[in-house]
C-alpha cells in the first residue's frame, strides 16, 4: 500500500486547487496511472486534468505505467514550456 506525495504545477495546480496532496494506492504493483485515478477520486478539480498528462516520479519524467513505491514524489506536469 504505497503512500505517495502528488504535486501539481502551473495550470494543473489551478485546476486541482492545490499544490500537493498525499495519496495511498492499493496493490503491490501500483503505477502512476493508479495514482492519477486515485487523485481524480479525491480531488474534484483533478477530474479536469487531461486523460494522460505528463508525469514524473522522483524528479524524472516517466510513463504512466511506471511503478510507484512508498514515499515517492509523483508530479503531474502540464505541457512543458521551458526556454
Amino acid at each position: 500500500m504505497p503512500n505517495v506525495t502528488v504535486r501539481f504545477f502551473a495550470r494543473y495546480a489551478e485546476l486541482a486547487g492545490c499544490d500537493s496532496t498525499a495519496v495511498r494506492v492499493s496493490g503491490s504493483a501500483a503505477t502512476v496511472a493508479d495514482v492519477l485515478a486515485r487523485v481524480r477520486e479525491t480531488i474534484p478539480g483533478a477530474r479536469d486534468l487531461p486523460p494522460r498528462p505528463l508525469a514524473a516520479v522522483n524528479l524524472r519524467q516517466v510513463k504512466l505505467d511506471a511503478r510507484v513505491n512508498d514515499g515517492d514524489e509523483v508530479a503531474l506536469l502540464p505541457p512543458l514550456a521551458g526556454g
Partner: protein, 144 residues
C-alpha cells in the same frame, strides 16, 4: 551560480564560468520574451527540484558528448518583461563547431524536457498558459 534565478540573467557571469584560454570558441544562446500580439510579459514557474536535476542531466550529456566543451545555463523564473532573457546558455570549446553544437543541443533538450511553464500576461490584464505542443485549449486557457 544557480541554474534557476529570479533576477535578470547576466551573460557576463555565464561567460566567466565556462570560458578559458584553452577554449577559443564560445556560442551563446539567449531566449527573450517576444512581443507576440498583446503580450506584455511572461510569468515563468517551475518544478524547481526537477528542473535543476534535469538541467544537470542535460549539461552532463553535453559534457559527455563534447568532452572539451564547457556548457552552462541559467533559466529565469518569475515575471520576465518583454525583451528580457528567460534563458541564457553558454558553450565554450576549443573550436567553434563544438561550441555551436553543444549550445544547440542544450537549448533543444531544454525545450523538450525542462519542467517550466509560461503564463503570458496580456495588455488587457488577462493571462494565458502557453502550450508549445500546439494543443491550445481554446478559451479555457485564458483566465481572469
Amino acid at each position: 551560480m544557480t541554474y534557476l534565478s529570479r533576477s535578470p540573467i547576466s551573460v557576463d557571469s555565464l561567460l566567466a564560468s565556462v570560458q578559458s584560454p584553452a577554449r577559443g570558441g564560445t556560442c551563446v544562446f539567449l531566449g527573450t520574451v517576444r512581443s507576440d500580439d498583446d503580450v506584455t510579459g511572461i510569468d515563468y514557474s517551475a518544478y524547481d527540484d526537477m528542473a535543476t536535476a534535469e538541467i544537470e542531466r542535460i549539461l552532463g550529456e553535453a559534457q559527455e558528448r563534447w568532452t572539451n566543451a564547457r556548457v552552462t545555463l541559467q533559466h529565469r523564473l518569475g515575471l520576465v518583461p518583454l525583451g528580457e532573457a528567460s534563458i541564457g546558455i553558454v558553450a565554450a570549446a576549443p573550436h567553434r563547431d563544438e561550441a555551436f553544437a553543444a549550445c544547440r543541443y542544450v537549448i533543444e533538450e531544454v525545450k523538450q524536457r525542462l519542467p517550466v511553464w509560461k503564463k503570458e500576461l496580456h495588455a488587457d490584464g488577462t493571462t494565458t498558459w502557453v502550450d508549445p505542443s500546439g494543443k491550445q485549449v481554446a478559451g479555457g486557457l485564458r483566465d481572469r
